[in-house]
Amino acid sequence: MSLTRFLRHRATTPPTPQEATPPVLELVDIAKHYPASPPIKALDGVSLTVHPGELVGIVGASGSGKSTLLNIIGTLDRPTAGHAYIEGTAVAELSDADRSGLRAARIGFVFQQFHLLESSTAVSNVSNGLLYQGVPRKQRTRLAIDALERVGLGHRVDHRAAKLSGGERQRVAIARAIVADPAIVLADEPTGNLDSHTSADILTLLGDLNADGTTILIITHDQDLASAFPRRVTVNDGRIIDDHQTQFPTLIPAATQ
């Protein structure tokens, strides 16, 4: 039900890549090989451009290289060949510390296993999204509460992460990813640990955030969920085999029925 709302919303405001501004993300001929015999080609010749405001679903079988791709985009991993640009900055030329700075300010992450500090409250987990930018504590807390309200957890601010449900935990993680107002949010199987109903809620939330202007990349290996995204990139064996723009997605995912 909420997903249909999301789809309707997408239908009225189709993604409008603004060619005038630089892409948020640009990958050129990216490869990631792991030494072995024969070498494991986790990624091979991947090129991808994402513009501000896009919502991109990345699908593919297990082991196809989706996480590797996302980690390279997020500057957590380095490609063995090719070039990656975040907002026009060549990542390869950055030192480890500069890449950390880039992540702190411009990239938000959402993980399948949430990665929350269990003994900390929701608000302090979210405020950690600003920790490594040197934002003063008071201001962090204020922004964290705002972010929690945006993800619909205004009533769970002081709850410990360990006491929250799976869906609530992922909302906290999403709030943490958006609290610093990043250029791009990268979500690796954000619904992988959630039941189908909660998954739909989380996807709707991400859709709403995107509608408000946040650029989001979501990995999922659920084809049905992925079909809801206006743009779907299919990865197979380390290569992009399909990059599909759907202005008006028609398929209603089974998960919401």
Binding site: T68, A104, F111, L117, S120, G129
Partner: protein
Amino acid sequence: MTSIPATATQHPHVEMQRPRSKLRAADAIATGTHGLRSRKGRTLLTAIGISIGIASMIAVLGISASSKADLIAQIDRLGTNLLHVQAGNDLFGDAAQLPPESPTMVRRIGPVDQASSVSALDTDVRRNKYVEDNNGLDVFAAETHLYSTLEASLAHGRFLDSQTSTIPTVVLGAVAAQRLGINNLQGAPVVDIGGRNFAVIGILNTLTLNPDIDRAVLIGNDAAETFLGAEIVPTAIYLRANPEHIEAVRDVLPPTVNPADPNEVTVSRPSDALEARAEVDKNLQNLLLGLGAVALIVGGVGIANVMVISVLERRGEIGLRRALGATRTHIATQFILESATLATLGGIIGTILGAAVTYTYATQQNWRIDIPIEALALGITAALALGALAGLYPATRAAHLDPAEAVRPTT
């Protein structure tokens, strides 16, 4: 590919300030203690490990300082200006005799305040004439002012005076009284010396500096001549001299006492023996300190161990922090701070423990309590340094975890 492809330059954009990671000091501290706060049980146990080493070192320093303070107070009280002159031993190992005029000569030395001689008599003392003498006690003929020279005190009765020196009376040293079984003067106790009864008129308190007097019974010079037919020849002289010239006095004593054979004369300062006791303590103290240091190192290795485990367990947290923008330095700092905090906590517990042990022991021994502030500061500083050192390796490992690996789900 060596050159940056054209696609990058198709989208020139205003060069914005490169974002930099930074962590405020207060946040670094909060981050560095977060792991400890969320694992309180483990934190306490690990801290206790290091606290044992610190506690034992503090206790060793505190107890020996307290014991030393007590000894020094004791030496001060007894005085370091008492000298003991002896003629050395003759061929048979008995105390040899000093020239008869030697006490007078000694009194003429400028810085000498007072001097008294004793003469060891060749006789034995017994409880009565029916028991064997096997008590190892000496009989000394003494001058009446020996009492003031030694700064002695009486447990019972009085000391020899000009009158009692001439009649058959004795004053017992503390050990002598005990061995003779005379604990007080009730019933007018007597002892047998050379087959003759002598009335006990006084019992001395223990003389810490003069155990030889403790083991002796003292009679007056006149009484010794009259009733034992002894010839009074000094065998030892006790003297008090001006403390500032004590070394000079020491040097002139042998030629003054026995100009013919100065090498025969031995001069000793009884307080030296007490000071030597403090030096003996030093060796023991070093040994115990060494053991404490070993305990400390074991505690440090324990901390390093716990930190390594912690880094393995918190792979996901480290990956998350890298994803949130932490640099390697931030991660390393977090774990070094955590390790140092853990150890400092142990240092504080250990310091309190060590001070408590010192307090209890010193109180039990009736000592003055003296816990050196430097020892306390040193204990906590040592713990802090050790903790930082122990954290170095785990922190380096944490900092060099591959962030992409660290955020991957553990399967």
